[in-house]
């Protein structure tokens, strides 16, 4: 889960990380007022969870409050990469001398958080993590000890970072680390950190990605969802503990296990079909969950056939069968349903479903082929 720039910046501020003077608004005429308060020039920035706002006209410079209002109104009526802009952030415009990129994330190989720092221009955020085997510009953080000041010194030292900003950099990195821990983040990025011509060290933009597994102890997480980004059903699915992603095809999928779901989608593609979604039932399946899953699928007008591919392990096929039975009783079978079941309690699962108007398939590949045939191969 990702936060908007203005949300991330509000957290940065709380953690003592210096940000430019700025305010967020959804109303263009308020932009004028804000620009007056801050003093011009200002930057007006679209708040959308998309890369490349700058090149899409999502970031504009305004030299007067009037210009700020105009820019805000322009951006707020825009769509950026298909996403409408709900809010703009108006920040003081700064003269920048030097730019840096800072990142705390998790290293899967070492199972440790790491802190990376680059001088901007030397590398782009999108490719930073690719610099896999280069240890020079990264510091591993012992999760049992946490980030220490000396580690920031080491990093600054390697980059010939100016001494006079070292204390500021240290506070920023320690703030990032504390935020990373407190919020159960998966990633905290600052891009750019700037040294301005008037010798301030400021964070101009940043990203925070949160760990959805921590939802049970991070209650605010739900408030930060950007509902606009989510397709219909994604919110409903999450409520029921389903992993659902809406896609463009017409074969609705209902699978258990993330790997198996991916393999099913791949198999559909290989057989010339187009999946309508990713839907992993996840752990702890009960009747309500299966009904909710089928409800989401059948409410998607693009779905022309439903492919159920279940392999029992932690999840038992009979539990799913009871769910399917109840769902079919409720919704009927106007949209054809194809079922493949294997593994734990597969036999009794099939027995439960055998009198219903559904198609059975002896294997996943067979089930996929049947589904593809129904929707016309394409």
């Amino acid at each position: 889960m990702k936060l908007h720039e203005y949300q991330a910046k509000a957290f940065f501020k709380n953690y003592g990380i210096p940000i430019p003077e700025g305010h967020v608004t959804s109303i263009a005429r308020e932009a004028k007022q804000i620009a007056e308060e801050i003093g011009c020039p200002v930057v007006v920035k679209a708040q959308v969870l998309a890369e490349g706002r700058g090149t899409s006209g999502g970031i504009l410079l305004a030299k007067s409050p009037q210009e700020a209002e105009k820019a805000a109104s322009e951006i707020l009526s825009k769509k950026i990469h298909g996403l409408s802009v709900r809010n703009v952030l108006i920040d003081e415009a700064l003269s920048i001398e030097k730019e840096y990129f800072l990142l705390i994330t998790l290293d899967r190989e070492k199972r440790m958080p790491l802190l990376m720092m680059y001088e901007s221009g030397t590398i782009y955020i999108e490719t930073a993590a690719n610099a896999l085997f280069d240890n020079l510009d990264r510091i591993y953080i012992d999760p049992l000890i946490g980030l220490q000041r000396y580690q920031v010194r080491q990093l600054a030292n390697r980059l010939d970072f100016q001494q006079k900003y070292l204390r500021g950099l240290t506070e920023i990195c320690l703030g990032m680390w504390k935020l990373f821990c407190d919020m159960d983040a998966r990633m905290v990025a600052i891009n750019p950190l700037v040294i301005t011509k008037d010798q301030r060290l400021l964070v101009l933009d940043g990203k925070i990605t949160l760990d959805e597994n921590a939802r049970f102890r991070q209650e605010y997480l739900v408030d930060f969802r950007d509902y606009d980004v989510e397709a219909y059903g994604e919110f409903e699915a999450r409520k029921h503990g389903l992993d659902y992603i809406k896609m463009d095809g017409n074969i609705g999928c209902l699978v258990n296990g993330a790997g198996l779901t991916m393999a099913t989608l791949d198999c559909i593609q290989d057989n010339g079909g187009h999946p309508a979604n990713f839907m992993d039932l996840g752990a702890g399946v009960n009747i309500d969950k299966v009904i909710a899953a089928l409800d989401i699928l059948l409410n998607d007008p693009q779905v022309k056939v439903v492919l159920v591919n279940i392999y029992g392990g932690m999840t038992r096929c009979d539990d799913i069968a009871y769910g399917l039975q109840a769902a079919i009783e409720k919704y009927g079978t106007e949209i054809p349903i194809i079922v493949h079941m294997g593994g734990t309690h597969a036999d009794s699962g099939i027995r439960i479903l055998k009198d219903l108007d559904i198609l059975f398939a002896p294997s996943m590949v067979d089930a996929v082929k049947k589904a593809a045939t129904i929707v016309g191969g394409n």
């Binding site: 998966r186 296990g257 791949d266 029992g312 932690m314």
Partner: protein, 288 residues
């Protein structure tokens, strides 16, 4: 017999009074696993599974009484970190965590804590370990696999079951299948599991079942090329996965260009590891 576990492994089931824990404890016993105790806070003193398995309040008490050397965790995510640390402290040598949805920062801590205690940590969010026909510490359905010479390491539970079933239909058996789990951080990685298989006399060749996200498959490819003598094959899921979306598993996402299936396929290709993305193809590969 094969790696990590065998018939004399003495297992404690943490969360044995829960629905899943209870069900799979019975399955494991039926399969031949020595389930010597269960742990469930506030159920200590009772007996479960036809009054054959004693339940303790704490791992410490359970290990003291039963001399168990392995544990499997079914407790809910909210309590799982506590259960993991308790297991690490209890004196067992192997901890298999089935639980899904544990915060990743907790896993980082647990991993390093287990390391200082020299405990082998498998999972979380995994299917556990099975030595077909002999013993299992996990949730793999017993019917889906037969004993044989192929070692399997998988990020995905159900996908591995389906693949093993397809193998079974071809008469291809498995020495050990380790589910390493679908989370961002894994107690045991592909490479670490591969090291164990390399020296295991019961394993002749290896199958890796990977998916989008991270770079563990790329590391596995390098390891296969430079440090394995046994042949390795790979099946990968997620070629249709869109970037920026979490594909069910916490660890299965493409972000900032990292974690694409393309990169993984290239890595295996250039390491000389046969890699496929379709099950029929995989079966042809394994038949050889």
């Amino acid at each position: 017999m094969s790696i990590l576990i065998n018939k004399s492994t003495r297992v404690i089931v943490q969360g044995i009074t829960g629905r899943e824990g209870n069900f799979h404890a019975r399955q494991m016993i039926n399969y031949g696993t020595q389930v010597v105790a269960g742990v469930s806070p506030s159920h200590g003193g009772s007996w479960v599974l036809d009054e054959k398995v004693p339940v303790f309040d704490t791992m410490q008490a359970a290990v003291e009484v039963t001399e168990a050397n392995a544990s499997i965790i079914f407790v809910p995510a909210r309590q799982a970190t506590d259960a993991l640390l308790e297991a690490a402290d209890s004196g067992v040598e192997l901890v298999v965590c089935i639980t899904e949805g544990i915060p990743v920062q907790d896993i980082a801590k647990v991993y390093h804590y287990m390391k200082t205690k020299e405990v082998r940590f498998v999972g979380p969010n995994c299917s556990g370990i099975i030595n077909p026909g002999e013993v299992k510490i996990g949730i793999t359905p017993e019917d889906c696999v037969i004993a044989g010479k192929v070692g399997i390491i998988s990020r995905s539970g159900t996908l591995s079951y389906m693949i093993m079933e397809a193998m079974k239909e071809q008469g291809i058996g498995v020495s050990t299948c380790i589910g390493i789990g679908g989370d961002i951080l894994q107690g045991t990685s592909f490479v670490e599991a591969m090291e164990m298989f390399e020296t295991d006399p019961y394993t002749e060749r290896l199958l890796l079942i990977g998916e989008v996200g991270g770079l563990e498959e790329e590391r596995a490819a390098r390891f296969a090329a430079y440090q394995m003598s046994k042949p390795v094959a790979a099946f990968l899921a997620g070629k249709s996965a869109p970037p920026g979306k979490r594909m069910g598993h916490a660890g299965a996402y493409i972000e900032a260009g990292i974690g694409t299936l393309k990169s993984k396929i290239e890595a295996f290709d250039s390491a000389g590891v046969k890699v496929v993305t379709e099950i029929p193809e995989l079966m042809k590969l394994l038949e050889k």
